[in-house]
Every structure is written in structure tokens, then in C-alpha cells.
């Protein structure tokens, strides 16, 4: 659960007035919060965005004016730009202006990519397009890992994804195993800098690869595999949270990712394949629909039990999407759809009543015990 600074301050005042937190304790908590917030804020983000814009500007400028400069001048300009970026990064690191130094490294990476593309233009090279992006991502990866630069590592993850996407786009049956070692190298770099947002970016990239790879497998096998992997992750995270968290505190995140992966698989089986191959393809939509809704309710229960707000909201979103998609796709006829939703509604209300009774009994038992 994400708590904003303003929310924490408001809560602290309330806890102080209730007498749960002492004045000294509240002051210490606020001091700790202020220290933690010394990490680069808006100016760091703006510096990174500025570097990205400079890189794009350099690429467009050289490309647009390329006939007024000789090839050698263009090469010198690009090479000099890369050298100047890294020299600027060194000077900025020396002055302890780390966010700006990282931006300079990022500008160097952008120029490296622009150089690859422009050399290809200068010599009319029309090779395999993903190869150029792969080379670019390799340069970004080397810089990110060696310089422990988070923005550059993020750029390398994005480039690896672009490279993998372009490779897969060329062949509808290919499972791009080459993605994994590159992802692993980026993961090693992020593990080294212990960057939290980077870990999420890596998890998103790996999930994206897993989804695409499973969908590349012919027929339904890939879809079932995706659902199985997602369910295995979610079930393990829900039932063995203590064991997982003893290793790394990731069970809450694992539950969210597992649930989303499984739902994407189920969604494709129910609605995407159906749309591609005609409505006659999936005759058991009612079964898939009720299974999906039940699994989403189970995910909500797991989210409630563990206080996992992210899973709860994702499950709500999935539930809403599923209902809309089932309504649009229709289960047999509109009458059949109506019967399906009626039955599911009655079951969910029954479940709510059962949960209410269990809760009342638990509260009653606690009161007796106290």
C-alpha cells in the first residue's frame, strides 16, 4: 500500500491526539521521512527527461542537415558528442551532482543509438532492423551496469523489450529466448544498485515476454500454460507467503503479477481467440466465465486477508472487465447471458452472507476470549 507524505502527517497528528504515538516519536518519524526524501526528486526526473529530449534533438538535427556536412564531419560530431557526454558525466559526478551526471550518461546512450542509426543511413545499410536496436541495448546495458546508473538501466530494459518485440514481430512462431540473458544482465545491474522501481520495470518486462512467448505457442497450449504459470504464482504467493517472504518480501507483488498473468491468459481464451476464429469456437464460455469470476473473487479474498490493496483493485478491475466482456460476447443468447449473471449474482451474494457470518463468529469468539 502506498502512503503519501501528506496522509502520513495527517495520520500522525491523529495518532498523537489518540495517545498512540508520543510527541518525540512523531518528530523522529517525520525526521526519518525527511531524510529518506533526499533522493532526487523532480529535478532528477526533469534532468533525465531533458537528456532524452537532447538525444532526440541531436538525432533529428543531424539527420535533417546531413547533406551539408561530410560523412567524416558527421562521424566526428557524433563521436565527439558521445565523448563529451561522458566527460560531462565525470565532471558532474566530481561535483556530486549525481542526477545530472546520470542524465549526461543517458544523453551519451541516446547519441550512441543515434550514431548506429545514422551510420546505417550514411552507408545505406538495410540489414535486420532488430540487430541495430540490440547493439544499442548492449551499449546501454554496459553503461548502466558499469556506471551503476539507474536511468540508463531503465533505458536498456526498454531497448531490450523493443528489440525482442521487433524480433518476435518478424516470426509469428518464434519464442525469443535471446531476451532472457539480456534481461538477466539488466537484472544483475538493478540488483547491484538495489533500485526498487527498476525491479518493477524488470518484472513488467519479464511478464510481457512471458505473455508474448506463451501466445506464440501454437493453439491453446500456450494460453493454458500462461494461465497455469499465473495461477501457480498466485497460489504459491497466497498459501506460502510466510516461506516466500522469509527469502524476499515479494509475496504481495507475486500475487498481483500471478493474478494478472492468469487473467490475461483466460481473457485471450474467452474473448480474443473467439473474436479471431468466430463465435462458434468456444462453446463453453459459461464455464470459462464462471471459473474466471470465481478465481477473481478468490484473488479478492486473498487481497483482503493480506491487506494487499494492489491485488484488491486489480481484481476489481478484472471483475468489471470480465463482466463487460461476457455481456458483449453473450453466453449463447441474451436470455442465456441473463441467466448466467443471475446465477453468478445469487452465488456471490451467498458468498457475501457466508463471509459476514464467519466474520461475526470470529468477532464473537474474540469478545468471549477477552
Amino acid at each position: 500500500m502506498i502512503i503519501t507524505q501528506a496522509r502520513l502527517q495527517a495520520d500522525l497528528k491523529r495518532w498523537q491526539s489518540e495517545g498512540w504515538v508520543s510527541d518525540a516519536g512523531a518528530t523522529a518519524i517525520l525526521r526519518d521521512l525527511a531524510q529518506r526524501n533526499r533522493s532526487p526528486g523532480l529535478y532528477g526526473a526533469l534532468a533525465v527527461l531533458g537528456a532524452v529530449l537532447l538525444g532526440v534533438a541531436a538525432m533529428s538535427f543531424v539527420a535533417a542537415h546531413w547533406d551539408s556536412l561530410s560523412k567524416l564531419s558527421r562521424l566526428a560530431l557524433l563521436g565527439g558528442g558521445i565523448g563529451a557526454s561522458y566527460a560531462a558525466a565525470f565532471e558532474l559526478f566530481r561535483r556530486r551532482l549525481d542526477p545530472f551526471a546520470h542524465s549526461a550518461v543517458l544523453a551519451g546512450i541516446a547519441l550512441f543509438g543515434a550514431s548506429i542509426m545514422l551510420i546505417a543511413q550514411m552507408y545505406h545499410m538495410d540489414g535486420n532492423p532488430p540487430d541495430a536496436v540490440w547493439l544499442w541495448s548492449l551499449g546501454a546495458l554496459a553503461a548502466g551496469v558499469l556506471l551503476r546508473s539507474n536511468p540508463t538501466l531503465a533505458a536498456s530494459v526498454v531497448l531490450i523489450c523493443v528489440w525482442s518485440g521487433m524480433t518476435v514481430e518478424q516470426d509469428s512462431k518464434l519464442i525469443h529466448w535471446g531476451f532472457l540473458p539480456m534481461w538477466g544482465a539488466a537484472a544483475a545491474g538493478v540488483a547491484n544498485t538495489r533500485w526498487r522501481a527498476g525491479k518493477h520495470l524488470l518484472a513488467l518486462a519479464l511478464s510481457g515476454w512471458l505473455i508474448v512467448s506463451c501466445l506464440q505457442i501454437e493453439r491453446e497450449t500456450g494460453r493454458y500454460l500462461l494461465v497455469a504459470i499465473g495461477l501457480a504464482m498466485a497460489v504459491a504467493a497466497a498459501l506460502r507467503a510466510d516461506v516466500i517472504d522469509r527469502w524476499r518480501p515479494i509475496s504481495a507483488t507475486l500475487l498481483a503479477y500471478g493474478m494478472v498473468l492468469a487473467y490475461i491468459g483466460l481473457f485471450v481464451i474467452q474473448f480474443v481467440d473467439r473474436a479471431w476464429s468466430g463465435s462458434a469456437r468456444e462453446p463453453h464460455l459459461w464455464l470459462w466465465g464462471s471459473t474466471t469470476l470465481t478465481l477473481l473473487i478468490a484473488a479478492m479474498a486473498a487481497g483482503w486477508r493480506t491487506g494487499n490493496g494492489r491485488v484488491l483493485w486489480l481484481a476489481y478491475a478484472g471483475f468489471s472487465l470480465e463482466i463487460i466482456a461476457l455481456y458483449v460476447a453473450k453466453i449463447g443468447s441474451l436470455l442465456g447471458t441473463s441467466a448466467f449473471f443471475f446465477l453468478m449474482g445469487v452465488l456471490v451474494i451467498a458468498l457475501a452472507t457466508l463471509a459476514y457470518r464467519m466474520r461475526t463468529e470470529t468477532v464473537g469468539q474474540r469478545e468471549v476470549m477477552s
Partner: protein, 198 residues
Amino acid sequence: MTIFENICSSVPAALKTRGAALLAVATLQLATLGFIVADRIRLLKTGREIILPIVPVDPRDLFKGDYVQLGFPISTIPATATTGEDMPRLKQAYVTIEQQPDASWLAVAVSARRPATMAANQTALQARPAQWSDWSHGPVRVRYGIERYYVPEGTGGDLEKLAREKKLSAIVAVDAKGRAAIKGLSADGKRVYDEPLF
């Protein structure tokens, strides 16, 4: 103590490591770019020169942005040339092209490896199948990496006019590995676009 040693001794160890890493990254990236350029120049300078006529597939759609999409008669491999060898899902193969008495080139064979021996009027080019193509079922559309000719911004019209009025050909260098690179363009036997190495 020299000035350099003086500077070095005043730099903290962590910064020295970072400086070394920056130097390594810059060297690595510049060396990579240098290698690409040097390799291309070597191919253009030493490769065998062949002249391939350009086929404007659709003159209205000839230009996309700042490059000309080039098509060649050898871009389509006839079924007769693909049936010789079983080549399932190869990302790259070699197309043997043969010069005809009228100086044009024709694709005569496809193989997984570069042929060891070829006639004097033959050469082999590295080729990739165009999207969704399969080697085992001809005819196959292929790309040799010479299908784009980049032109300065806003000057595409001149080339378009030439392509419509005269017979446009690409002057291509081919190296021993079968890699191809565009050296320039010619119209009616005269070089109209010559590519400087630098």
C-alpha cells in the same frame, strides 16, 4: 610530481572507479561505431562491383520519408532456384546470381552455405527472407540489405524523376562473405549518385 599525478591524487577513489568506468564505456561504444564504419568502408573499397537494375514497384509509393525503397529483379527468387535444397526456416541463406549476356543479373540458386566454387560470371549474396517468407516454397521474396537508398531531406523528387524517365541501376559492392553495400546509383550507364567513403 607531474600535473597529471597531482590531479589523480586529488580525485577520490570512488570517483576514480567511476571515471575508469566512463572511459571504458565511451571507448567500447566509440570502438563499436568505428568498427561498423571501418567494416563498411572495407566492403565498399574492396568488394566486387556489380550493377543491378532497379525496379520501381510503384512509382507513387517509391519514397517513404527520406529514403527510396529499391526493388531488384533478383529480389524474387523463382521456384526453380529454391527447390534444390531443403532449408527449413533459415534466417539467412546465400543466393547465387549469374550475369547474363545482356549484363543483367539473375538469381539461379539458393543454398544454406556460400557455394565453394562458382563460375566467373557468378557471385553469391547473403539474403534474408522478407517477412513471412519460407525458403522451401518458392518463389521467395528476399532482402539483401541494399533495399534502402537514403536521400537528403526534400531531394527525393530528383531521384523519382530519374526513376521514371531513365533506367536507374544500383552500383553494389559485394565482398568475399557475400555481403552487399550500395556504392552509388547510375542512370543510363552514367553515375548520378556516387557515395563518398567519408
